[in-house]
Symmetry: C2
Subunit: 363 residues, 2 copies
């Protein structure tokens, strides 16, 4: 426990299941400097706030966001900024973000731009938030259908992880988050991959998975805070993943972020095989099986490759007109900046075995 | 010239009337990395772009903003972000901001948040831009009537000052900008104050004024990049100034930013006298006279102090409910964090001599 408590990412202390007095003390110290403002969503305000009763005592009236990636936009930001101004937040105030990736992404961006930046901390409440979204300082919102196009890189003061929140999650959301843990195993921790492979009862969440996944994130973030190089390895599965997410975002059946990453990783592990010649089919099958076991996805329709292309080419990872992917040559061996042309994607879908694993993607 | 060319603020090179090949070379080097996007306004696109003809050759189609502080808002930002996306700007691209404070404030904010931040440079075209707004990394926009409420502190790659642009300015805008030069003299350069005092032909702009004013800005910025302490001295005149600006912003007769700062400085120099007992009336009169000579303002109406209070209390410099001012005890002697209560403002306006200099502000 002691060791976990002393974890830090990019200089930011990360507490994992620490005694709640440590959070209380930190908030009390911040309260002496200025007001504390809570951003959450309709789920976390009812499911998570009761687990930390003193949060409501120490913070202003919660600023409650609607649930869902479709609200991660500038309109929601304007509501947050307005609430902060109405509550009298000033440059000495602190924002506490209590929620999953949407809340921490958007809440962190709002805090980092309110009065040119006030301090903030994250209390992630989902698997994805705890192992990925809340860590590393990337914050922002979607803009006119473009994923995370408007944002900043700014570190929170503190990240407080409380795994009992995970028990409040519906199974589908829990499984969605596991996709990011699998991703971290694939890009940086072969042993974590083995551990996940041997464990089928994911509902009894093994904290070791989380801690190992966080260590992988720490490694890539700290070697490239400003995201100009190897940090891109964390985007494995995200080029296809973001495209699928954008494609379904404004339909009646949007997918969860982790679900899209799961689909994206399956596409990109086979793309790695086709484009790089590695990993072997055998390894690709093994990875695909684990992803499908961790994060089953019910894709609400079939997509033609051509229809997905506009979303793929607008991905932030594009460079000089060509779409760039972060792929993996094998478990624990990421390769970034892989330029992939349309012809290669067509070739991917001509492979009968691949087509079996990507039934939602049509040539 | 050499010395001026090597000036830097917070590590950012500032070129003053350097050979235009230095800008051309910098742009050429950036163009090899990614696309270059130009943000200007309807004035600078017609008046300033022809003076730097190669700018148009090297940049994408200019993104042209409407002129005026009333457009320094999120709606205009959305237009800029949309244009950048449509022009294919990516993380290797650079934004060039050509204009006054509105263009550099807003353009810098848009660049610093586009794809979580791409590089940008400023080419200020106004007195205010050259001696203040474009320097120091503060960027942002107004939000629902609140001045500069949404923004970031992020440094440009380069600041390129070309004083011939000043000849394109209408006299009113030129005089408005002089207010910030006077402000810099008042907070940090008694000799500059003397030089301004002895010079009445402001139209033949003395470059020494500009260089000295920039040095004052450099001093306060570099000692407090994140704006947590002495940088606040640069806000002298700005608490009242921003309130007046906000008050008239959405009327038919908005004032220019520098004009409001001029009015604000007159209010705050006398407030210094009333609140701190310094400077003497004699010095206050001398300062008031110089401000009025440099920046004559035709105030479009009278304001009751009570009507100005909501704007004063929403200023970002507020702290724990009370309005805080950056005042001066004498020329070159700023004092920050001065908490001033309503009663003191009433006392200020009860002074017959003060009332003479602030005829637009009623008890």
């Amino acid at each position: 426990m002691k060791e976990e408590e002393s974890l830090s990412i990019a200089g930011v202390p990360v507490f994992i299941d620490a005694d709640s007095t440590s959070l209380f003390d930190a908030l009390k110290a911040l309260e002496r400097i200025g007001s504390i403002h809570l951003i959450c969503d309709t789920n976390t305000s009812t499911d998570c706030m009761p687990l930390l009763p003193y949060l409501a005592q120490i913070t202003k009236e919660p600023i409650i966001l609607p649930v869902g990636e479709q609200y991660k936009n500038l309109e929601t930001c304007q509501g947050v900024w307005r609430s902060l101004a109405q509550q009298g937040a000033n440059r000495n105030s602190t924002v506490v973000n209590l929620g999953g990736g949407v809340v921490t992404d958007l809440g962190g961006f709002c805090a980092a731009t309110y009065m040119r930046g006030i301090s903030f901390m994250h209390i992630p409440t989902t698997v994805l938030g705890m192992c990925d979204a809340a860590l590393g300082g990337k914050h922002g919102v979607d803009f006119e259908g473009l994923k995370n196009y408007i944002g900043v890189i700014e570190q929170p003061k503190l990240i407080w992880i409380h795994t009992p929140f995970l028990l409040t999650l519906p199974l589908r959301h829990f499984q969605s988050g596991l996709a990011e843990i699998v991703k971290h195993a694939l890009i940086g921790d072969p042993l974590l991959f083995q551990l996940l492979h041997g464990n089928i009862n994911f509902r009894t969440f093994n904290k070791e998975f989380l801690t190992r996944a966080i260590q992988v994130k720490k490694h890539f973030v700290e070697n490239d805070i400003q995201d100009h190089k190897m940090r891109a390895a964390l985007n494995f599965g995200h080029t296809f993943g973001h495209a699928i997410e954008s494609y379904f975002l404004h339909t009646d059946t949007p997918l969860l972020h982790g679900e899209c990453v799961a689909l994206g990783m399956i596409a990109e592990i086979w793309l790695s095989h086709v484009h790089l010649g590695e990993p072997t089919r055998e390894v690709c099958r093994k990875i695909t099986a684990l992803i499908r076991k961790c994060t089953p996805v019910d894709v609400p329709g079939k997509i033609k490759l051509r229809a997905l292309m506009p979303y793929l080419s607008m991905d932030k990872k594009q460079h000089a007109g060509a779409t760039r992917y972060s792929l993996i040559k094998g478990i624990g061996h990421p390769v970034i900046d892989q330029e992939v042309h349309y012809a290669t994607l067509e070739k991917l879908l001509q492979d009968d075995e691949v087509a079996l694993f990507l039934p939602w993607l049509l040539r």
